[in-house]
Amino acid sequence: MVKAENVYKTFYTTHKVEALVDVSCQIDKGEVVVIIGPSGSGKSTLLRCLNMLEKADKGHIYIDGVDILDPKTNINKVREEMGMVFQSFNLFAHKTVMGNLTLAQTVVRKRSKKEAEEKAIALLKKVGIPEKAGSFPDNLSGGQQQRVAIARALAMDPKVMLFDEPTSALDPEMIGEVLDVMKTLAQEGMTMVVVTHEMGFAREVADRVIFMDEGKIVEMGTPEHFFQAPTHDRTKLFLSQIL
């Protein structure tokens, strides 16, 4: 479903930052993969390379068999099939919740307004806030905003969902409501790549866990393997700090 082969990404700002170094991984259909690692280890960069919000310097990334780094690939078509949820929600501030959910459906998927709205209502019910359809994002709590953001991504019927620390900007009491939505999604068989510091979620929902450090994938395995018998010292150190 998603396959990265020897991906490199370097940022040049004041100094050179090697955000991704020879990263290879594969996510199969229906799999939930959780990426963990210390701050600055390249987790976000990897996720953003997967839908070309960052362009990888080198290597290959295949989404559903399509090489997205091939200049001939229409990246917009690929992105239609991938949902992304951001740490800072990024809801469209000038549109209502309904507007947020229907815009891409009508503009990109060319659905009728009625069809898009029906879909939006169904998804708002699914994430538990159908009564907020007419509200503006500013008037919602963080947890509600993030659930709307998830619904907005789902409205496009994506084949893969990418989550970049979806609960990091939330007050503790709101984390649960967002994680619940994500768990439901996982149970329904959605292919998911989740960057998170929520180890409970990783343990409970993940099929596989990837540990990254300094732009490299250090260790990859089942949650049982990770939380009971990690092999690398870096992993052990990280887990001991975070658990």
Binding site: N51, L53, N76, K77, R79, E80, E81, M82, G83, M84, F86, S88, N90, L91, F92, A93, H94, T96, L103, A104, V107, V108, F136, D138, N139, A149, R152, A153, M156
Partner: protein, 337 residues
């Protein structure tokens, strides 16, 4: 009432009242001062002469076009039909009954007045105001289009577009508008009109070179305003839109520009108020806008004091109307935060 004191009064409404009085006194002082000074130089105010430059009654005379005899006068309602019969031709004229100056049997020559009527006409100041308005509206409209595209080019990833935009913006902002107007009219205008003439086509009037100069000038500033507005929108908005599969133009059109528009409005209004005022420079290339019209009227009427005040007031009316319109837009677009 017993515990009312002057300090209480001062602390509550007193300051407000004193400020209002102070304001009135100062305004009165300035106006009175100017009036007093004009008295000293023996200037005679003749405000009653001003309205005629807005709207006036013109007497239009109907003149005979042939030589001949007035054959008949036929009343028709409050009009009279005057039939002039010459040697081998006849002409029929209609004039208001009250103004007939000939009688049956009179012999008239071409150019003789048969009668006259009066008609309201738009005065030169109103014409100037209208031209200023027209030039401003055209330039604002073109300026927005130029500025929008230049602003987008300015932030484009394509170096050719970006550098073109930067060059244009810097060139325009680095030279005086007056010089640019001269270049538009005397250099580009001459060139273009000569080319047109060689193709056997008509000339473009100074008005259009004036509009072009103003629009291109404003466009450079609008471009910077647009760029700043777009860059003030959090980049997460663009990323969210793109991650949903929207193209760059779709994301710009649906997400970024509508949000930027709200922030752009106040500086944009300021820019266009400047543009209205800058249009007063177009008089130098023979566009008879409000300032040029005022100058012409001043030379014929010899009432400069009244007319220049009126001129300033008319600009104020235009700029004030624009501010009001923008405030209305701001209120409309801010609904729903």
């Amino acid at each position: 009432m017993s515990n009312f004191s002057i300090t209480d009064y001062l602390r509550t409404r007193g300051w407000r009242h004193i400020s209002i009085i102070l304001f009135v006194v100062m305004m009165g002082g300035v106006i009175g001062g100017i009036y007093f000074a004009t008295q000293k130089v023996e200037y005679v105010w003749r405000w009653y002469r001003v309205p005629q430059y807005f709207y006036y009654k013109d007497t239009i005379e109907t003149r005979a076009e042939i030589e001949g005899e007035v054959a008949s006068l036929t009343p028709k309602g409050d009009q009279v039909e005057v039939l002039v019969r010459g040697e081998d031709e006849e002409e029929l004229y209609q004039v208001p009954a009250k103004s007939v100056r000939v009688s049956e049997g009179d012999f008239v020559y071409p150019g003789d007045v048969l009668g006259s009527y009066q008609k309201w006409k738009v005065g030169i100041l109103l014409q100037g105001l209208w031209l200023t308005l027209k030039v401003s509206i055209l330039a604002v409209f073109l300026g927005i289009i130029i500025g929008l595209f230049t602003g987008l080019a300015r932030i484009s990833k394509n170096p050719a577009l970006r550098w073109t935009a930067i060059t244009y913006i810097e060139l325009i902002r680095g030279s005086p508008l007056l010089v640019q107007i001269f270049i538009w009219y005397f250099v580009l205008g001459t060139m273009f009109n000569t080319l047109l003439a060689k193709q056997g086509m008509g000339q473009l009037s100074p008005l259009w070179y004036g509009v072009a100069a103003l629009a291109v000038f404003a466009g450079a500033y609008v471009a910077e305003i647009v760029r700043a507005g777009i860059q003030s929108i959090h980049r997460g908005q663009m990323e969210a839109a793109r991650s949903l599969g929207m193209t760059y133009p779709q994301s710009m059109g649906h997400i970024i520009l509508p949000q930027a528009f709200r922030r752009i409005l106040p500086p944009l209004a300021g820019q266009f108020i400047s543009l209205i005022k800058d249009s007063s420079l177009l008089g130098i290339i023979a566009v008879r806008e409000l300032t040029k019209a005022t100058r012409e009227v001043v030379t014929t009427s010899l009432q400069p004091f009244e007319l220049w005040f009126i001129c300033a007031l008319l600009y104020l009316v235009l700029t004030f109307a624009l501010s009001m319109f923008v405030q209305y837009l701001e209120r409309r677009t801010s609904i729903g935060g």
